[in-house]
Symmetry: C2
Subunit: 309 residues, 2 copies
Amino acid sequence: MPGKRIRVKAPATVSNLSCGFDVIGLALDEPFDIVDLELTDSPTVVIDDIRGCSTLSRDPEENVVGAVLKAAIVMAGRHAGFRVSIEKGIRPGSGIGSSGASAAAAAFGANLLLGEIFTPVEMVMLAMEGERLASGSAHADNVAPALLGGITLVRSYDPLDIVRLHVPSELCCVVIHPETEIKTSVARGLLDRHVPLATAVKQWGNLAGLVAGLYREDYDLIGRSLTDFVAEPKRSVLIKGFDQLKQSALEYGALGAGISGSGPSVFALCRGGDTAAAVMKGMSEAMKLPGIGFDAYMSPVSRRGAQVC
Amino acid sequence: MPGKRIRVKAPATVSNLSCGFDVIGLALDEPFDIVDLELTDSPTVVIDDIRGCSTLSRDPEENVVGAVLKAAIVMAGRHAGFRVSIEKGIRPGSGIGSSGASAAAAAFGANLLLGEIFTPVEMVMLAMEGERLASGSAHADNVAPALLGGITLVRSYDPLDIVRLHVPSELCCVVIHPETEIKTSVARGLLDRHVPLATAVKQWGNLAGLVAGLYREDYDLIGRSLTDFVAEPKRSVLIKGFDQLKQSALEYGALGAGISGSGPSVFALCRGGDTAAAVMKGMSEAMKLPGIGFDAYMSPVSRRGAQVC
């Protein structure tokens, strides 16, 4: 029905969670992006407005939301289009799934306006087209939790298989976003293309421990498992003051801490809101040392992901 | 109390379970090894008898049980020793934890005779000394399930951290043991020392899926996750007829199948005893083609591991 409108929000996400490189992602309650969508009868995408960010293009060929909506039109096989306006609550290049949130909101909104014709996996596939545009790689570890909420596992890409993992009731997340930008491509370039088998075994031992810890609601096990032998040793050099930030998180009671996505944001998982508040305070104090501006967030794990607002 | 005797059994185990290379192990109910132990007041280990296998040495310096018991004496710091006799129900070199079962029985029995002085993790560490002797590597992926039962994860070796995973109630295991021997060292030599990062990511995506599947009792997810991108592609060439065996297991309804440990045994996980019986029949028929003698086992997952018998 052309003219039908909807307002959708999708949250920031923390991917990797130390040991789950490229496969695990966690949805926050905030910050989030908002996308207003209107269904049109012309098979085009028009981006009327982008608020909260001056650097993103309104050309749908160069915009994450545009890429997702164009893919949705093709997948739907319908003579339909969209007019949208975007409100960015998540800064691009923050490492907490800025492009993923916009992409997830677009896929979620398109599905509703088109009459709920896509399965959850199809929505993830659509949102991945946004990631393909943003980073050159159609990865799902941010868009899956941004769409579905909770903590997600990308078990496989071929075929795409997303598993929603159990979320322990007291799990909270703190995110410190230093005002520096790290390009995903630069962060990815730091990684070795091969890892020693012994290192890979240690990494997947921890990931298996993390998943078991989530299901058992065993916070100690979660904490012990939050170790990254693959990406953090290479990438943490890009984040000024990373070691102090992490140390501070642990001193104030975090279960574990690490790089969110490819950075520069640093996350800490905590048991309970009180501990999370103390950890956020401690990490914020630690940020005074390098003297870089930063944003700080504290949030339970979002159960819902993308939603109408 | 010198003169005190005990009879202990510990079961065969399937390590790796396709995606859990070097970290996952599963205990069967049978076959098993039995170790009779007597506490003595001389700080030595005497192996009186080994039944069921003519190739194992009775010299405690060259025997898995001897290595474990000597380590137990040292760890206990007591002036005590052991006389033992061993009944091998599991053939060495089978890939279903023959040395691990003997080592687990020895550690479990020593602990009981010495007055239950060791923690479960300490018993695993003792049993690992048996593996060190048998294969040159003090690995825990067989001895942990042989001791503790169920399905275990070796999350970390430093410090040793063993996690007992949830066992779905209907999970059954079929094992076909072809009458060929594969040295662990040969099987290990086939593996690349480095794996492409993309391959490692696929492997740990599946392992995380397997662990989630176990906790959710989601048999389909378990089945989808039983894929090995690391060891099976290299090692399966050592097992004549492997592809047909695996194909047959899947045709008869197995959730998945792969190499048990470093082979030559091939395991299949199944939902329920009826399916397991059909899978065992199907795999046994498939073994007629290469014309190699074999043993076939079918067992639920052992909940107990090592125990007095």
